[in-house]
Subunit: 164 residues, 2 copies
């Protein structure tokens, strides 16, 4: 099992959008080119982020995407769930209720221990992602990146973003 690769794309793109001046937008083409990604496929994931109310789209020329909320209020978990889905990692199919020893369904009101343990682990994973916001990611990036690198990125983005 592995997480969708689109999750990585989405997180990086949201981080880039978070670095834009307030109100400014960046089109899919620029986001794709920035990381060397497929433009059409990235569009699919950006669409999912828009449906999840994380980013919003402006149509027409000079349109593009921008964050719908400040980076401090967007958790990594939201981005992951928007792209990869909200279903739990482990889905119990209740195989204990199958087979020759199966009882009447009312006998299985208590979830099986495996289900419970898996749900706990799932919660631990999601909690860890919930505590990290996009703003945190930006902070760490700006802390470790070299000054010239930050300037180059800013310049490159400034040449393609659209101020509303």
């Amino acid at each position: 099992m592995k997480l969708s690769e689109g999750v990585e794309w989405g997180l990086h793109c949201v981080a880039v959008l978070a670095a834009l001046p307030p109100g400014a937008t960046l089109p899919t083409k620029a986001l794709a080119e920035y990381h060397g990604l497929s433009e059409t496929y990235l569009a699919k994931h950006l669409q999912a982020l828009a449906n999840a109310r994380i980013i919003e789209s402006l149509p027409g020329p000079k349109g593009g995407y921008r964050l719908q909320r400040p980076p401090e209020e967007i958790t990594m978990l939201e981005v992951v769930e928007a792209i990869d889905g909200r279903e739990p990692l482990f889905r119990c199919t209740e195989i204990r209720q199958r087979g020759p020893l199966a009882l009447e369904p009312t006998a299985y009101r208590i979830p099986c221990a495996i289900h419970i343990a898996m749900a706990q682990a799932d919660k631990a994973w999601r909690d860890a992602l919930r505590t990290q916001t996009i703003a945190d990611l930006i902070d760490q990036y700006q802390q470790h990146a070299r000054t010239e690198q930050l300037q180059e990125s800013e310049q490159w983005i400034a040449g393609r973003m659209r101020q509303s």
Copy 2:
């Protein structure tokens, strides 16, 4: 993304094997029938568990599978990793190093913040699974199950297990 369904099968089967008397074995056919599973497909997963040194196989008539270690020393994480693989949930493909603004590889010695956060969440998930042993699962099952159900299961298994 979802965990392989085989993980559920493997966990339940290991739990059943843990309930056997010491040294006794149970063939694939019985394990599959017990939960109403495909015998041939289950064999594939049992094989993976055997490669991971969690269970061991005895060939020939009166052969079958049994645990290779006491249930207290087998964690849920081991079973999950044996069947689903040991790769992390999130695999960073370093898209930050792609695109027109890419620098020389030596500039990326520090892992990106997204990678780090994902690794932390991954660790939280695995830690949660590591703290739960198969013995814990058995305990909880025996605590909540009805007496007659336990007896029926024991009887059914006793009729198909092989004492070494």
